[in-house]
């Protein structure tokens, strides 16, 4: 049995179309009439994405300005170029993904979960390539401090990002939350790369990268809670 035969079977099994109750349709139309005012459609995806990336970048730079630009000062030119261009590119992808999550019927290139994996794996691969100091001094104490700082700045970025996104409508709040958490993590990760001068491979690979999945998971949790409201 081929696909065409299955198509035929589906078509023949489909029930005859039934008329909808005209009165019900009229009631629906009447119910929306009192609040039928012109609305302004959402801006283009790229406009919203620029806004979101700018928010993350501003939060990261503001955080580094407050805590010090020790990290970027310690990096050489190649490290700066690779790390910050990768952060920018992935933040752009995350912002576009998040905007699509907030628009019903938006085009998905990758799912929010896949995007989180790409971001985590991409940044981990880049860090593994660039940082070759394999000492693990103050692994937990310094690491937890960095993770907490990164998450704090991710949280700070999430608040203004919500202002950009509040007009949207998430058809899947969990995926939207995951995408929002992933995007917000770039504010935290960016801030850590600007500020943190601990270039031990284990520290950067574990604690800096952890900001991304932890922030993503926190976003997904918020989305999960919101769907019950």
């Amino acid at each position: 049995m081929n696909d065409e035969q299955i198509d035929e079977a589906l078509k023949s099994a489909a029930p005859a179309p039934r008329a909808l109750n005209a009165e019900m349709l009229g009631q629906i139309a009447e119910s929306i009439k009192p609040t039928l005012a012109p609305v302004r459609p959402l801006p283009a995806t790229w406009v919203m994405s620029i806004g979101l990336v700018a928010i993350c970048a501003a939060v990261a730079v503001a955080g580094a300005a407050w805590k010090g630009f020790d990290g970027i000062e310690k990096m050489d030119g190649l490290e700066r170029a690779l790390i910050f261009s990768a952060l920018l590119a992935l933040a752009w992808a995350a912002a576009s993904g998040l905007v699509q999550e907030m628009i019903p019927g938006g085009r998905r290139i990758v799912s929010s979960g896949t995007l989180l994996l790409i971001v985590t794996a991409g940044m981990a691969g880049l860090f593994a390539l660039l940082f070759r100091d394999y000492q693990t001094s103050q692994f937990f104490s310094a690491g937890i401090a960095c993770l907490a700082t990164g998450l704090l700045f991710a949280l700070i970025a999430a608040a203004p990002a919500w202002l950009v996104l509040r007009r949207g409508f998430a058809v899947n709040p969990v995926w939207a939350g995951l995408a929002a958490g992933t995007l917000a993590s770039f504010a935290g990760l960016g801030m850590l790369e600007l500020h943190c001068h601990n270039f031990q491979a284990a520290h950067v690979l574990v604690w800096h990268i952890a900001v991304v999945p932890v922030s993503g998971a926190a976003g997904a949790l918020v989305g999960w809670v919101r769907r019950f409201r």
Partner: protein
Amino acid sequence: MQKIFLNPEFLSWQCNFSKFAGELESTQGLREAGVVHQDCNNHFMPADSNLDTLMARYQLGDFDAATALIETASPQLHRFFLAQLYSRTEADDLLQETWLRIHRVRHTYRPGEPMLPWAYAIARRVRVDHFRKTARTTARHEDVEDMSTIAGPTLVDANRSDGLAAMLALLSDGEREVVEMLKVAGLSLEEVARATSCTVGSVKQKAHRAYKKLRVTLIAAERNRAGKGRSEGLS
């Protein structure tokens, strides 16, 4: 008042109807909104508008366009709920809820984008919310009432003898949804991907899995029929 019946197949090329979309009882709203017009032989012809332009006009606060949009898109959305194994009454309620939701978030539609996947995406959300609400209600009452007496969202209306529903009942929710949108509503892969918030690859995968299951079921049914025919012939 004379009722004018409109054949949706006739309009499908222009208005993006499915040929299973259902008969519309009145064309009043459609004529007012310019979706159809009457020619000199009193035949209704599709005008240059379609669902996307109606939606754009609805965003501008045009009540006639909103009415026409409700009349044209409702049969497909209603059918979507029916295909998800809801009863007709539940499908009616969900359709009304969907339009209220569409009205609330109509600014999220972008002029120029396809309207149907956008509306289906909202309808899906309404369906999921309804499912959760029913599940919660069921859980709350399960101590005091017999589970079998509570109408769940996956229970088919007892009066509904729908061959399609029986075929699709074998599939998972996601597969059923994809097959219904692709093969019954006539959406493209890209449109289904948009409506279900998936990638095109994921839709293809679900359709492939669904067809695999349907193939096995249909072959088994065919064998059963052939076996019955042989035994009847022998007797």
